[in-house]
């Protein structure tokens, strides 16, 4: 299990600061949910952590500074799934999942037996082994999401970064994929950071939530503490009720604004 420490991080593009984080820690084996309105900086923060976005400040994995880790070694430590992965529509599913083994294969080499079995294990866990000979372009949304996750899992990295893993799925497939992710996290002892736009989903699955707004962390803690009606009105400009689901977790329900709520939102949303 791997711990992530982010300190004094700042991402700027063309002189404009997109994200600043003074201090953010992800505990080993934890599922941290990044929430926040569109454009708040969730994706930018994830990319900065994985090292595909230039930034100032420090990102450490189990105390090791990321800047000092080579690309291929880093790929053995962090696997990530972007919100909209590039899908080579003619590639066979087996070939696609095996791409996850790239950090373990010599530059000009080919897959060894250990790579094939790692890909098989990942595909079995996600129930996509029987899709091995299908073309990527023929998969349904739910199948595609599981295949993309299988590629990330085949990387056997202790850290998994997911950007909106369920954004294109219906409610049934969303629950199925989220349950699967949680199961994998426990079984493989993964440290998991995921950006999520569905607040109820985030509250139901993540142990800890970090609310990002305007490029800053504005709340950090368990769902019950972060997801308050006031905070959501302030940062999302939304009128919601936060209710107890009777199971110890909370659900967030959007409701039509009454005139008094609307005025609050008007005043406070930049």
């Amino acid at each position: 299990m791997t711990r992530i420490d982010v300190t004094d991080l700042a991402v700027s593009v063309d002189g404009r600061v997109l994200v600043t984080v003074d201090r953010l820690t992800v505990e080993p084996g934890e599922w941290l949910g990044l929430i926040g309105p569109n454009g708040a900086g969730k994706t930018t923060l994830l990319r900065a952590i994985q090292g595909t976005m230039p930034h100032r400040g420090s990102v450490r994995f189990d105390g090791r500074e990321r800047a000092g880790i080579s690309r291929s070694e880093l790929a053995k430590m962090i696997a990530s799934v972007p919100q909209r992965p590039v899908v080579p529509s003619h590639m066979r599913v087996a070939d696609y999942v095996l791409l996850g083994r790239t950090p373990f294969i010599p530059y000009l080499g080919t897959e060894r037996v250990s790579d094939l079995s790692a890909a098989r294990d990942a595909m079995l866990e996600l129930g996509v082994l029987e899709l091995a000979d299908r073309r990527m372009g023929t998969l349904s949304g739910g199948e595609l999401q599981r295949v993309v996750l299988a590629r990330a899992l085949a990387q056997e990295a202790p850290v998994l970064l997911l950007d909106e893993p369920t954004s294109s799925l219906d409610v049934g497939h969303t629950q199925q994929v989220m349950d699967l992710i949680d199961e994998l996290r426990r079984r493989r002892e993964l440290t998991l950071v995921s950006a999520l736009h569905d607040l109820t989903l985030a509250a139901q699955f993540c142990e800890r939530l970090v609310l990002v707004a305007d490029g800053r962390v504005v709340a950090d803690g368990p769902a019950r503490a972060v997801l308050t009606e006031g905070a959501i009105a302030r940062h999302y400009g939304a009128t919601v009720r936060v209710l107890d689901d009777g199971d110890g977790r909370v659900v967030v329900i959007p409701v039509r604004a009454r005139s008094s709520d609307r005025r609050v939102a008007d005043v406070e949303v930049p």
Partner: protein, 349 residues
């Protein structure tokens, strides 16, 4: 109900049947290429003569001395040259398409054609000033490498170093070199025919010297490209995702472009500009045998070789005794054939 589930997900491999089919096509093309011409050579006798070259095999063949000379000094060098150039153009085209994730990429994308054109034009004009005919391929080679080198420098200094930046730099460099070539040519209108003939491409040979010139480049470039076949599949997920898989994308692109460019420049130097091969052959392979570069690259080399040997055969027989430019043949027969493959295939490009 037992559902058949594969035990392990096997990567795409080049099927033996495909490989044998491609080799058979190439062998047939070569046999036709050496047999057909103003002097007919029986393929059986040619085969016996070739076998006789092997150490320990000693059998008389039915060829006369004249036929033997035609076979070894005229037909065979030309067929081998056609095969090498065709293999190189098709393989380099496939590699460019992979490394730029662009189905329209061809080996001339980054300025090879324009640079070689300018170099060849200068050398042809320079003959009045005492340059020999041997200077033309050397100048074409140098011009091609200069243009792509300039494209790379521009792509690195301007913008964000992405594949798109490189392609756009190539467009700028190619336009500039073409303009320079047109200007130089207009100032020396008497060489127009010769320059035009060079640009259209031809596989004229004088014995084995051209083969000897281009073969080392094709072998080295082909080996480097084939070695990168899995890497080209990784690049299919885009630069950023490939980077998160531990790949240094810029380095892969540099190696592939360098190898493909060197080979293409050598091919262009001895054959002029032969269009279409670098696009049509790889896409035909994709449509028939799938899109993994483990399949596309080796099959493109083999089929490209066979295709150009056949195109050259058509170029020198359709209007015999005069010759058609081979570039005209590759497009004239290649385009309808490609449309046919597109129509009958279920795959998309």
């Amino acid at each position: 109900m037992a559902v058949s589930v594969p035990r392990v997900p096997l990567p795409t491999r080049l099927r033996v049947a495909w490989l044998l089919g491609a080799v058979a096509f190439l062998v047939a093309a070569v046999a036709l290429g050496v047999a057909v011409g103003p002097v007919k050579l029986a393929p059986g006798e040619v085969f016996r003569s070739l076998i006789g070259l092997l150490p320990g095999v000693d059998g008389p063949d039915g060829l006369t001395d004249t036929q033997t000379t035609i076979l070894y000094q005229i037909r065979l060098p030309r067929v081998v040259l056609g095969g090498l150039v065709g293999a190189m153009l098709a393989g380099a085209g496939a590699a460019y398409q992979g490394v730029f994730r662009n189905p329209l990429a061809d080996p001339y994308l980054l300025g090879v054609a324009a640079g070689a054109g300018l170099g060849a034009t200068l050398a042809i004009i320079g003959r009045a000033a005492g340059l020999t005919a041997e200077a033309v391929p050397v100048a074409a080679f140098a011009g091609a490498l200069a243009a792509v080198g300039l494209t790379y420098l521009l792509g690195r200094t301007v913008g964000d170093r992405t594949a798109t930046t490189l392609i756009l730099a190539g467009v700028a460099v190619a336009s500039f070199f073409t303009a320079a070539q047109t200007f130089v040519q207009q100032r020396n209108a008497d060489t127009f025919r010769e320059v035009y003939a060079w640009i259209l491409g031809r596989l004229g040979t004088t014995g084995w010297s051209e083969v000897g010139t281009v073969a080392p480049y094709v072998v080295v470039s082909g080996a480097v490209l084939l070695a990168h076949r899995r890497m080209l599949d990784v690049l299919a997920v885009g630069d950023e995702e490939a980077a998160t898989l531990g790949v240094r994308v810029g380095r892969v692109r540099w190696w592939v472009v360098a190898a493909a460019t060197l080979g293409t420049a050598a091919a262009v130097a001895v054959s002029g500009l032969i269009g279409f091969v670098g696009i049509v052959v790889p896409h035909t392979v994709r449509l028939v045998a799938g899109s993994s570069y483990r399949v596309v690259l080796p099959l493109s080399f083999l089929l490209g070789a066979g295709f150009l040997v056949l195109a050259d055969l058509a170029a020198r027989t359709v209007l015999a005794p005069s010759e058609l430019p081979i570039g005209v043949i590759t497009a004239f027969f290649g385009a309808p054939f490609f449309v046919l493959v597109l129509r009958t295939s279920r795959e998309e490009i």
